[in-house]
Amino acid sequence: MLDQAGGYTTVDGRKIGGVVMEMKNITLRFGGVVAIKDISFDIREGEIRAIIGPNGAGKSSMLNVISGFYVPSEGEVWFHGEKRPPMRPFEVARQGIARTFQNIALFEGMSVLDNVMTGRLTHMKTGLFSQALWKGPAEKEETENREVAEKIIDFLEIQHIRKTPVSRLPYGLKKRVELARALAAQPKLLLLDEPMAGMNVEEKEDMSRFILDVNDEFGTTIALIEHDMGVVMDLSDRVVVMDYGKKIGDGPPDEVRNNQDVIDAYLGVAHD
């Protein structure tokens, strides 16, 4: 069903494009510990790609490799058809890869709007002095970026807390603000690290809806990590399954669900 050249069509009829990001034989070691063992997979334009696995499978490490927080010990990362040299996280972000964190990394002292505006930093070009003087191009740029930020704030239904300092928000809303900040960068690839972690059922449903809406409305390519199988299977177009740093499955949810290795990993069958 995977058409190598031009993508594929999903069950619900969405057109998925070519390869955006390709991980080739990625291995990641920390001293003697091997976190990721020779894993390859790709992420295609417009799809929701999930990486799942039991705790300690190496999912977060993989996300950190994609976002540049870890440099792989071996293997290549290809982004938009080009091999990516070793990069620091801020350079990766400037390439158009935005992310959220498992343990929420927001700017606690700033308001929601300011947090979302930091997501626009990579799109701001005017110099320091014109900004300080608040004139001409700088003003225009600020207004334009502000519009994008406001649009995303509306979209994620957090208008009512725009001016609230983030430190005062409950957990579920913080997660949503973090998503808003990542979206504000209008990323080519959006990485979500356990977007549903620690949420109650209602919040999980909200978050799932937002993820689907974001993908639908903005056509954003999304890669997400989850250990909650049920949520992932409903959300994603294709799933990579990891266990003990190795890839044990890759494909559409239905296919993965029936994969014996995956079932073993999740039901805890002893490894030989």
Binding site: L121, L128, A185
Partner: protein, 328 residues
């Protein structure tokens, strides 16, 4: 109005002016502490270095001239120019930015993620190193700094108050100028951190490193920028204090006076540094004026520290501090 009250008013006014100068030094500490959690012990020496550099550049002194002459047997001391104040200040600022870059590149970059006490120790080392470099570059004599700032008694104020109360207030012109410049500096700094892209990035870095990286902010760049701004504040403080009492080693000790200011105002607040400075300035002058005679005078030397101690007991985060933070 009774003489005693008028005199107290004059003392208060002078205290406010002195407080502004303390606040100037404290500002430099706050900036670096906010953005990187480093308590920069070298801030006072940076003021000394900036003032020395300014004097040297103004007078066309050849940097490291003694060293050069000793090695090569030459006899060069002076370029033979006398630069106008503004040009010299700009050149000095270039030097301070270079210093900021060096500090980040050779010291702080290698200590990312270390405990605050390690970073603090590094800045102590930096202070001694910079002191030595300053001596080597510009010599260790006491220098006169005059870039044309008005000095001496403000006669207008003297006359006006004399006409009003029959008692002329004695206020130094330099203190008035310092107050105006400090006010402008604070407005500029607040505007910078609130309304510019770089300011927003700076606040972001101060808040959360990982998150800052994830939105494309280069920590290195921000830290060089912050050290540059702190260098600029040090330069302003150096000019004011240097004009007042000459550029000499004791200039670096004004950093000690900034400590109680920071404890009062909180290590993380720009307005706090200002208010803290003013409270200390007015407090020590008034205390010396009213209580001083009863205890044999010379209370100015210790009043600020005792006040800071009292604050530490009852409100350790300071007046405007964000949260309880580790003391150094």
């Amino acid at each position: 109005m009774p003489d005693q009250l008028l005199y107290a008013m004059e003392v208060t006014l002078n205290g406010l002016m002195a407080g502004v100068l303390y606040a100037l030094v404290a500002l430099g500490f706050v900036l670096i502490y906010k953005a990187s959690g480093i308590f920069n012990y070298a801030q006072g020496v940076m003021a000394l270095f900036a003032a020395m550099t300014l004097v040297g550049i103004t007078e066309g002194q050849v940097p490291f001239s003694h060293l050069i002459n000793a090695i090569f047997g030459t006899e060069i001391h002076n370029f033979g120019w006398q630069l106008p104040g503004l040009v010299a200040i700009l050149l000095t600022m270039v030097v301070m930015v270079g210093l900021a870059w060096c500090v980040q590149q050779f010291v702080m970059r290698h200590l990312v993620g270390q405990a605050p006490i390690i970073l603090f120790m590094a800045t102590i080392g930096l202070a001694y190193f910079l002191e030595g470099v300053s001596d080597l570059m510009w010599g260790s004599e006491i220098r006169k700094l005059d870039i044309g700032l008005p000095q001496g008694i403000n006669e207008t104020l003297d006359r006006v108050t004399y006409d009003l109360f029959g008692y002329g207030f004695f206020i130094d012109n330099l203190d008035v100028v310092a107050s105006v410049i400090a006010a402008l500096l604070v407005i500029a700094l607040v505007a910078f951190s609130q309304y510019t892209k770089q300011g927003r990035a700076m606040r972001a870095v101060a808040d959360d490193h990982q998150a800052a990286l994830s939105v494309g902010i280069s920590l290195n760049f921000i830290w060089v920028m912050v050290w540059s701004v702190a260098g600029f504040v040090a330069l302003v403080a150096g000019i004011m204090w240097g004009t007042k009492s000459g550029v000499q080693f004791s200039l670096s000790l004004i950093a000690l006076k900034a400590l109680p200011v920071l404890m009062l105002g909180g290590f993380t607040s720009i307005p706090g540094a200002i208010v803290g400075g003013l409270i200390i300035g007015v407090g020590e002058k008034l205390f010396d004026f009213m209580i001083g005679p009863m205890v044999g005078g010379a209370t100015e030397n210790w009043f600020a520290y005792v006040l800071a101690l009292v604050f530490l007991v009852f409100r350790p985060q300071g007046l405007f501090g964000e949260k309880i933070i580790e003391r150094v």
